[in-house]
Subunit: 344 residues, 2 copies
DNA sequence: TTGAAAGCGCTAACAT
DNA sequence: ATGTTAGCGCTTTCAA
């Protein structure tokens, strides 16, 4: 069931050790002639190294674990593309684990990946706000790293783990500031689910920028919604139905593009002009954002780069104890047609 | 570096064999009492089976290889979601390999996956039209299957391999027929890249339906384009610029939603009314199709299901020689706002 | 039902 | 520079 190294070695008339050295790199060098002979035999026999055997002998695999909520989500997919590219460049293969945003699934995923002895783990989803969940996950990661595993998060995943940090707070603040600069004074914010830490980060950015501009944000001006089209629709409906038309916001910040997509759909259906009556902005700049009508103003996150840098960071992850690496990646506002001056 | 089975066994006062049987299923049963003791020890020590060792001993892994052109592409991501779900249900983890639509990369990917001894391989991209490439890939798959590997394709991947078949041709035909039914007589088609077999399938469907309706399709009415936004823009620009306005098509069939997205963008920019002057339809029904303006008429492919069924088919893949399984999955036309009656 | 022992295919000391 | 020889951690006959 597959040609083995010993067979190749025998065929080439050398020892398995030499064959191993000739075929699958090693510190030691092999004589030119023998090396050629071994390679010829390998090619002739169609030898393919057994990855499991190599992993066992080397006590590490050529896999990088990728943990994310949903590979079908455009943001997750973009990150995965970056991970896959960087992994390939490092001779590694990504092993995919979906968590559906469930802390428990994430914990099980980390354990599974640890059992796989993957070379590194990339956490592509946000950390959780629930302290118990966060603690459990942190402990699992620490244990994995204590065993020599390497970890990197996308967004902060606990103070002692490496991570690449998209500037969520700064980006959100810049967005809010830009909208205030357009003249908006009445804001509503549709933030992400409470269970995710990034939701709070983005919201905090908006809050601080608005406060700075002397603009208040009441509790009824903030909704939390799943980062989906449906979540966005429901949230904006709630937001508008809950108050008289004259108290509608002039600007809605949906802090996830998918959410903003839902907002746009709902407003279109209701015949509310965007940006004439309400300006709408998103967050992430998914590929589809530019194709919405009106095209969506949003905050661009370098999603693919986030993924590739996370892999690089993870592979360079120093042993626990050393200060973990932190790589900030800029987020910038992309102004498009969905925002404009408030109605007067 | 990780607790081993022997340590658990020693701690529980049993042999490694018994520990193995108690923890990681086996035909043989283990006495209730011993089993409990072993499980307790495992939990206490934090035992995690070493996947590489298990793979070596069992000579198969718990991985399913997923080969696709681009995980960042919405269609690929949706398929991956299906694969991941079905894999998880079977206790397997997907190992991702991106090919960028390159036959050579695909070949290398199959070899890599074979070296990994993955339990099964799912080919999520189209087969290639280039005979040499197709032959090489076919041979690699056959070799893998001869070694006990299991394979399933999404779309036909060679007569002797199992596959799930979205009804590309029938779906495309239905789309063309529907458009003809709306009164269109002047069609243009933007088909996928020539290197992919599905491009031909979809185009064939359109052709046969149009022929049946007595509608001709000249060579200049068909363009091949990359299934991207940019590809679509360029293709429609070519299509329109190449002829006087009065000979413009009244209906453009872009046989990939991303392509259709580009077409819509270009027409919007040119101020061409859709569907007033030109109707536009796509293929696939990506999640974003419904959010375009006008919302895109398209042919719905059950992408996620395609992925999950492919995993099931692969896991049930009989040894070579037996007739390979073939599962047809329906594609249906989804009528939205981007199509209407032709101008008169 | 349990244990002893022989691999699974490869790598890495160690020896030569 | 090459070969010898132990394992890596687990499963699985085969005996008991």
């Amino acid at each position: 069931m597959g040609v083995t190294l010993s067979e190749v070695a025998r065929h080439a008339g050398v020892s398995p050790a030499t064959a191993s050295r000739a075929l699958n790199g090693s510190a030691r060098a092999v004589g030119q002639e023998l090396a050629d002979r071994v390679r010829a035999s390998a090619a002739e026999l169609g030898y393919l190294p057994n990855a499991a055997a190599q992993a066992l002998a080397r006590s590490t695999t050529a896999h990088v674990g990728l943990l994310l909520p949903d590979i079908g989500d455009p943001a997750g997919a973009a990150i995965a593309r970056g991970v896959s590219g960087a992994a390939a460049a490092a001779g590694l293969l990504p092993l995919l684990v979906e968590t559906d945003g469930d802390p428990d699934a994430q914990l099980r995923g980390i354990l599974a990946l640890r059992g796989q002895r993957v070379r590194a783990v990339v956490l592509a989803g946000s950390a959780f706000t629930d302290p118990a969940a966060a603690r459990a996950i942190d402990a699992a990661l620490a244990a994995y790293r204590a065993d020599g595993g390497r970890v990197a998060g996308i967004t902060e995943q606990g103070a002692e783990h490496a991570c690449v940090l998209p500037e969520s707070e700064a980006g959100a603040a810049a967005l809010a500031r830009t909208m205030a600069g357009l003249g908006h004074r009445r804001f509503a914010v549709i933030a992400g689910p409470r269970r995710y830490r990034v939701s709070a980060d983005r919201l905090a950015g908006v809050r601080s920028a608005l406060t700075e501009a002397g603009i208040g944000l009441g509790p009824q001006d903030v909704r939390h919604a799943e980062p989906t089209r449906a979540g966005g629709r429901r949230a904006i409906a709630d937001l508008l139905d809950g108050r008289p038309v004259e108290r509608w916001p002039s600007c809605v910040l949906a802090l996830a593009d998918l959410c903003a997509t839902g907002v746009l759909a709902e407003l279109r259906e209701r015949g509310v002009p965007v940006p004439g009556r309400i300006s709408v902005a998103g967050f992430e700049d998914l590929p589809s954002a530019a194709d919405l009508v009106p095209a969506l103003t949003t905050v661009r996150l370098p999603l693919e780069q986030l993924g590739s840098e996370a892999v690089r960071l993870a592979l360079a992850d120093p042993p626990p104890g050393v200060a973990p690496a932190r790589l900030r990646l800029p987020a910038r506002v992309v102004l498009r047609a969905s925002t404009g001056a408030p109605p007067r």
